[in-house]
Symmetry: none
Subunit: 122 residues, 10 copies
C-alpha cells in the first residue's frame, strides 16, 4: 500500500530559489469500487526548501500504489500530503490525469502554498 | 568533472541591453545513485553585463559533465552558478529537460536576477 | 498470474469469414529481472473459426498479468498461445508495444496461421 | 430492436458498375453483458446490383439498434447480412470501429463478395 | 434542372494522350425525399479523345443541379453519362463526396473506360 | 506571347542518365474566354539527352505566357511540346496545378517518352 | 570500450517464429577524429533462433561505447556482428541515426540474413 | 573551387554489404549566370566497397563549392563523379534540393550502379 | 427570399446570463451582380434575454436565402437585424466567411450590444 | 496601369458599425527595377461609412496593377489611398505579403483612421 517511508531526500544544492517538475506517465492503482486497475499520469511541481526528493525513491513510492484500492481524489491528495510532510517545500502542486473510464476522462489539481511568480507567467 | 575554467568570455559589443538564448540538446552526465547515464537538454538565457560567453568554450564546459555523477538539481544550479560567476549577467536563466527514467520525465528551472520585461511578454 | 481460464468465448455469429481487432492500451506486468513494472499496448487481430473471445473476459485475462514477472517476449507468445488454444482461429496476430526502459522502446510481433488476403491489402 | 424492414431501396440509376460508401459516426447499441451503452462508427461500402439503399432509411435502421443488447461482432455481421438480403449487391463491406471499453478499442471487418478491382487499387 | 446542353467543348490541343482533373467544391442539389439542400464536392478526371470540356460551361452545368431533387447516386451517374456523351473520352472518372446528413457522410465512385497506366501508378 | 526562342540550353555535364525537376509556383496567363488572369504552378521533370534547360531562360519563357489568352490544357501541352523540341529529352513530364476558378480547381498531366525506372519507384 | 561479453541471453520462449524490435534513443560514443561526443539512435530488429537478448544487458552493452573513439560505420557493424555472434538469429537488422555534425545528418543500415516475409509487407 | 582532393577515406570496417546515408543541409554555391548565391541540401547514399568517406573531409569538400560559379546539374554530377572516383562504391546516389530562384524550386537525382534491393523496398 | 417569419423561439430556460454559438457551414445565396451562387459559413453568437432561437427554424431561415441575389454585407446585416428583432438578445454577433471569388476571400463581422466579459477573455 | 476609377461602391446596408475583410491571394505587378513580375497577397480590412466596395470591381482594380512597374511600398500605399478616396471609411487597413525574391520575403502594413475596439481584441 502507499508507503511514504520510501521517499528519500537529499539536501537542496543551493540557497537560491528554483523550481522542479517531475512527470510520471506510468501510474496505476486499483478502483476501490470495481476492483479494476486505473491508469494515469502524475505531475509534481515544487520549489524546494531545505530538501529535494530523490528520483528513484519517488518512482518506488509511486509504485507502492500499484495494488491499492483508492479513488482518484484520494491518490492526488495523499501524494500531495506525503510529499509536503517529507519535503516541507515552499510550494508544491500535484496534477493527476486519468485514462478514460466509461467514457469519462478526469484531471485533479491539488496545491500547497502560493504559486511562485515565475510559474504564474508560464 | 565539471570545469568552469573552460568557460571563455568576450567583451559585450554594446551598451544597450539585449537577450541571448543558447539551447544544447546533447547534454549527458551520470546518475550518482545508479551509475547509469542521464540525457537532457540545457537552455541558457541571459542579458549580458560586460561579458558574453564564447560558444565553443560553452560546449566544452557542458561536455565536462560527461562522466560526472551528479543529480539533475545539482547540474542545473551548478551551471547557473558557474555562468553567473563567469559572466556577472543582468539576468540569467537555466532550464534543464531530462529524458524519462523509470517512467519519470523532469524539468528544472533556476534563475539569477529579475526577468527582463522583454522576456516576460513572450 | 496469467490465467487463460478467464477467457470466455461465444459462438461466432456467422459462417462468413470476418476479421476482428482489439487494441488494449493499459497492459502492465513486472520485469522478472528488476522487479519493476512494465507498461505496454497489446494488439490482437484474428479471423475466428467457431468461437470469438468475449471482450470483458479478455480484459480480465490481460489484467491477470499485472503482478507476474515475465519478459516481453514471453508475454507476447503466451498471449498468442493462450488465445490460439481457446479460439482455434483461422489466423491470429499479437503485436506488443512497450514503454521505454533504460532508454529502450520495444515491439514484438507473433503470428499464428497465414495472413488473410484482405488484411494483406490494408 | 434491429429492424431490417426499415431499409428502403430505390432502383440503381445506371447499368454501369459503380461504388458507394456511407460512413455513420453516431452508432450506439448496448453491451449485452454489462448493460452499458457502446459507441462506434459504421462504414458501409458496396457495388450495387439492381437496388441502392435510401439514406434516411439507412439512418433509421442504424438507430433501431439503440436499445439492443448485442456484441460488436453480431452488430457487424447483422448489418452485413441485413443489407445483403435487402440489396443483393455485387460486393459489400462493413467496417465497425468502437470506442474504448475497459481500455480496449476494437475494429471489425466483414465482407460479402469479391473486392472490386477499382477499390483494390485505392 | 440538370442541363447537359450547357456543356461546351473545344478541340483537344494535342494528339499525345494526357490527363485532366477538375475538382468542384461547391456542388449543391436538393434531397428528393426531404426537400433539404445537399452539399458536396465533385471530382472529374479524364483522358480526352478529340474534345475537352470548357471550364466555365462545366461550372454552369454543375450549377444547373442547384434546385433539382436528386439522389447522390443519380447525381454521380448523371454527371458521368452527360460528360461521356459530350466528350467521348478515352477514360473518365467521377468521384462525389457529400457532407454529413443524419450523421452519415457518403462518397460515390463511377467510371467509364479503363484506368490509364499513368494514373494507376499515382 | 509564349516564346520558345527564349529557352536556352547548355550541354548536359555528364553521359550518365540523371533526372531533373523544376517547380515554378508563380505561373500566370489569361483565360481566353473571360479575359481574367489564371494562376498556377508548373512542375517540369525530365531525363536530359545532350542538353539541359538553363533556369533563368526557363523563367523568362514561363513569363512570356503572362498576357496570353490560353486554356489550361493548351498551356500544359505547349510547354511540353516546346521543351521537347528544345531539349530532345529521354523523358519529360509536365504537371500543371491551377488555383480555383468559379469553385473549380484543376490539374493537368502531360508526358513525353517512358517513365524512367528510377522515378517509378519514387 | 565496446564489450560484447556484457550481452546476456535467455532461451527463446517458443518454437514459432516471431519478430522483435528494440529502439535505443540515447546512444553516445566519441568521434575518433575530433574527440567530440557523437549522439544517435540504434534500432535493432531480429527474428530469434534459440536465444533472445536480455534488455538490461543490451542497455549496458550500448553504454560500453560511451567513451570509445569510433566511426558511425564501425559502430553499426560492430553492433551487428556482436549481436549475430551472441544470438545466431534467423535475421537481424541494425539501423543507426545520428544527430547533425557540421551540418550533416547520417543514417547507416546493416543486415544479417534475409528479410522475413512478414516484415517486408510492413 | 570544388576540390576532390579534400575527400579522405577509411577502410570499410566489414565485408558484409551495408548502406550509408549522409544529408548535408547547408550547401551553398554561386549561380554562374547571375553571380548570386544558391542554397540547397545534398543527400548522399551509397553501399561501400573497400572504402568509406570520412565525414569531416566530406564537409570540407562540400564547403569547397562555396565561391564556385556552377549550375545545379553540374554540382550534382560533379559530386557523384568525385565520390565515385574516390570510393569506387557498389552503388551511390546523389539527390540535390535547391531553394527557390525566380519562383522556381529544383531537385536533381543522379545515380551510379544498381539500386540495392534493400533500399528499393524502403 | 429571406424570410424572418420562419424563425421560431422558445423561452430562455434560466435567468442567469449564458452564451450560445451556432455555426452553419452550408450557407448559399446568389451574387446580385453576376447571378452566380455564393457559398459561405455563418457563425451566430448571442447572450439571450427572454427567448432563444429554435435550431431547425434557424436552418430553414438560412435556407431561405438560397436563391436570393444579395451582397455579402447585406446577408450579414440582414441576419443580424432579423435575429435581433426576433430575440431582443443582450448581445449578438454575426461572422460570415465566404469562399473565394476571383481570387478574393471575405469575412464580415457585425455586432449588436456590448461584448460580454466572458467572451472577451477567451 | 492602376485605375481607381474601376472601383464601384454600393450604399452600406445598415447604420450599425460593422467590419469587412477581403483577402486577395492572386496579386501580381512588375518590379520597376528588374522588370520581373512580383506576386503577393493583399488583405483589405475596413469599417464602412456610407459606402462599401463592390467585390468584382475590387478584383478588376487589383488586376489593373498586372503590368505596372511599381515597388511593394507604393502598391500598398496606392491601394490604401485609392480606397480611402473612394469609400471615406471609418477605418481602413491594407496588409501586403510578398513572395520571396532573392531569399527575402516582405510584408507591408498601411492604415487610415483608428483601429476599432472590436478588431483590437483579436
Amino acid at each position: 500500500m502507499p508507503d511514504p517511508s520510501l521517499l528519500e531526500t537529499f539536501a537542496t544544492p543551493t540557497d537560491s530559489p528554483f523550481l522542479i517538475e517531475h512527470t510520471h506517465e506510468e501510474f496505476t492503482s486499483v478502483c476501490p469500487k470495481t476492483g479494476h486497475p486505473d491508469f494515469g499520469e502524475i505531475i509534481l511541481r515544487y520549489v524546494p526548501a531545505a530538501t529535494c526528493v530523490e528520483l528513484k525513491s519517488l518512482k518506488l513510492y509511486f509504485q507502492s500504489f500499484r495494488n491499492e484500492g483508492i479513488f482518484y481524489e484520494a491518490v492526488t491528495n495523499t501524494i500531495r500530503d506525503d510529499l509536503v510532510a517529507s519535503l516541507h517545500p515552499e510550494w508544491l502542486q500535484i496534477v493527476t490525469k486519468w485514462h478514460g473510464r466509461g467514457g469519462i476522462r478526469s484531471r485533479i489539481f491539488a496545491t500547497h502554498g502560493d504559486v511562485p511568480a515565475e510559474w504564474k507567467r508560464g
